[in-house]
């Protein structure tokens, strides 16, 4: 593990003076390698190491813990701080319905996340409506509808081949006529470089004014997490992130990359395929996981 490696690297520092740029060089290299192998983006790692170096240099070498542990503590604290505030329940809009729009790359877990969110809101006694706004993927609407049926929540499906905009408008007016408090829009997976499909999202945003637009991102994503997040942020704007497939053994460095480059909070984490597998995000847990 990283802390074991750093223990070894810093053995000779024990009981000596201060942490200096020179004597923590090797240790910082270990941290860099740990973060890169955890899929944190290269540029994000570079900046993070510089920040840690600034915080660490000049510190007295404590006698109570080993220098390696001291550096790990600094790194861990910096990571947790960077990952942002611990979970805050998304506030509902003053006038219902609150509209949440999900977006992201193909296969990230949006449709499943939409259903998981519906389950959560239903559990909080907030009546949700799921909206199947993906007209492209084969059986996409059926997939969302089946999940809705499992949860016994409402699901709006537009006419086949209907544009997402039309489907969402119809869904929203239906929501306003019934006691729906939260509308959760599942959109089609798309590439951040697909101008036409990114414009579709922008159009949906302008027409529906969602209260929350959340990026659904796969925890297994590698270096490209930065470009993807930037693409969606610049084209549409991100309010928060849902990180899926955290039940695997991926270290999840994409979380750090996305947070560092967008400044937006990770709201929820997907921990499995079942609809109950959604949890609020804990910055300290992911920090430990990324460090490995």
């Amino acid at each position: 593990s990283l802390s074991e490696k750093l223990q070894a690297t810093f053995k000779k520092l024990r009981g000596h003076g201060k942490l200096t740029e020179k004597n923590i060089q090797e240790g910082l290299r270990e941290v860099k390698l740990a973060l890169l192998s955890a899929d944190v983006n290269y540029k994000v790692v570079k900046k993070f190491i510089e920040d840690v170096q600034q915080k660490a240099v000049g510190q007295e070498v404590l006698s109570s813990i080993s220098p390696g542990q001291q550096v790990v503590k600094i790194v861990h604290r910096e990571l947790v701080e960077l990952m942002g505030e611990s979970f805050r329940q998304p506030a509902l809009a003053p006038a219902p319905p609150t509209v949440i729009m999900l977006m992201g790359l193909q296969g990230a877990g949006k449709t499943t996340a939409a259903a998981k969110l519906a389950r959560r809101f239903k559990g909080e006694r907030r009546n949700p409506l799921l909206v199947a706004a993906d007209p492209y993927r084969p059986a996409a609407a059926q997939q969302l509808n089946l999940l809705a049926q499992q949860l016994n929540v409402a699901c709006f499906i537009g006419a086949p081949g209907q544009t997402p905009l039309k489907t969402c408008r119809q869904a929203l007016s239906q929501a306003k006529e019934t006691a729906i408090e939260v509308v959760i829009i599942d959109t089609a997976g798309r590439l951040h470089i697909d101008e036409g499909l990114m414009a579709e999202l922008t159009e949906l945003k302008q027409a529906l004014s969602p209260h929350y637009i959340w990026l659904v991102a796969d925890a297994l994503t590698g270096q490209e997490a930065v470009r993807v997040a930037q693409g969606f942020e610049q084209a549409v704007g991100i309010d928060g992130v849902i990180l899926t497939k955290m039940d695997g053994d991926a270290r999840g460095g994409a979380a750090l990359s996305i947070r560092a480059v967008t400044g937006k909070p990770i709201k929820f984490v997907g921990l499995g395929e079942k609809l109950e597998a959604l949890e609020p995000f804990h910055p300290d847990r992911i920090a430990s996981r990324i460090l490995g």
Binding site: L36, P138, L146, I193, L220, G222, Q223, E224, K245, E273
Partner: protein, 277 residues
């Protein structure tokens, strides 16, 4: 990394950034950097362009150029497709079915993802689009039973190719990996030698976890090849290089979009050149 620049010390940092950013990972990037450093010492490289060519040559050596051709000589050739959730298995099968149907082959698809909502419906639509027949039951059915019935039907119908779609699963879930092993045994009992191809589908946006996925799937199911999907995005899929180096598995196919035609044979030279775009 542009054309005729002279070599500077910053070059190694730039190379490291290029390779890491393409998801080659720390280990593979380091072997390439060590190689370039050694070539620089021997004054074998005189400018930027020669470094770029040196990197490409080294990577081509690592991954090799013999990747293609699915083994489809059996009377009823069986392709089993597996991988973690959302990687593009079902879509890849639709594209493959279309390719073979266009070649005049008779293709049957086994909808053996009996877990995920609308998985069978999704594959049935790909069946309609490609012209392939689909054998599938309701959610909750035993996936091995689907495999068995599909293999029996494929033989009875004189199908040339049977492609088995499986549910996405994380390699860390032992019981799900056991389920795949059982499906593989069952199809082998029904059609001797099957599956003739056991393909792991990897999403090109995946980071270093892809190596762990490949190791585990290979250990549990003995893969015959890899499929790298979503290369039409900005991800380079560089993690595949380390996988090929370690496991010696060929990359048979790549996915470059969501349509029926968006399937190509893997081209090592193109793949390596694309790292520099």
């Amino acid at each position: 990394v542009r054309g005729q620049r002279a070599i500077t010390p910053e070059i190694l940092d730039e190379i490291e950034e290029l390779l890491i950013s393409a998801d080659l990972g720390v280990n593979t990037s380091q072997t390439v950097i060590d190689y370039i450093q050694q070539e620089l010492k021997r004054r074998e490289l005189k400018d930027y362009l020669s470094i770029k060519n040196g990197i490409q040559e080294r990577l081509l050596q690592i991954i090799g150029t013999n990747h293609n051709g699915l083994n489809l000589t059996a009377t009823t050739a069986v392709i089993m497709v597996l991988g973690v959730n959302g990687g593009g298995k079902t879509t890849t099968i639709g594209k493959l079915a279309y390719r073979y149907q266009k070649q005049g082959k008779k293709v049957v698809l086994a909808a053996a993802d009996t877990f995920r909502a609308a998985a069978v419906e999704q594959l049935k639509i790909w069946g309609q689009r490609s012209g392939a027949g689909v054998i599938g039951y309701q959610t909750g059915a035993d996936p091995s039973a689907v495999v068995y019935d599909a293999a029996t039907a494929a033989k009875a119908r004189g199908a040339d190719i049977l492609i088995i779609d499986t549910a996405g699963r994380l390699h860390t879930k032992k019981n799900l990996m056991e389920e795949l092993k059982k499906m593989k045994r069952v199809v082998g009992r029904c059609i001797p030698g099957a599956p003739h191809e056991t393909l792991l589908v990897l999403d090109a946006t995946t980071g270093q976890n892809a190596i762990i996925q490949a190791r585990q799937f290979h250990q549990d199911l003995e893969l015959s090849g890899l499929v790298l999907t979503k290369l039409d995005g900005t991800a380079k899929g560089g993690v595949a290089i380390g996988i090929v180096a370690e496991l010696g598995l060929p990359i048979k196919l790549i996915g470059v979009g969501e349509g029926l035609d968006d399937l190509q044979d893997f081209d090592a030279q193109e793949f390596v050149s694309a790292l520099f775009y």
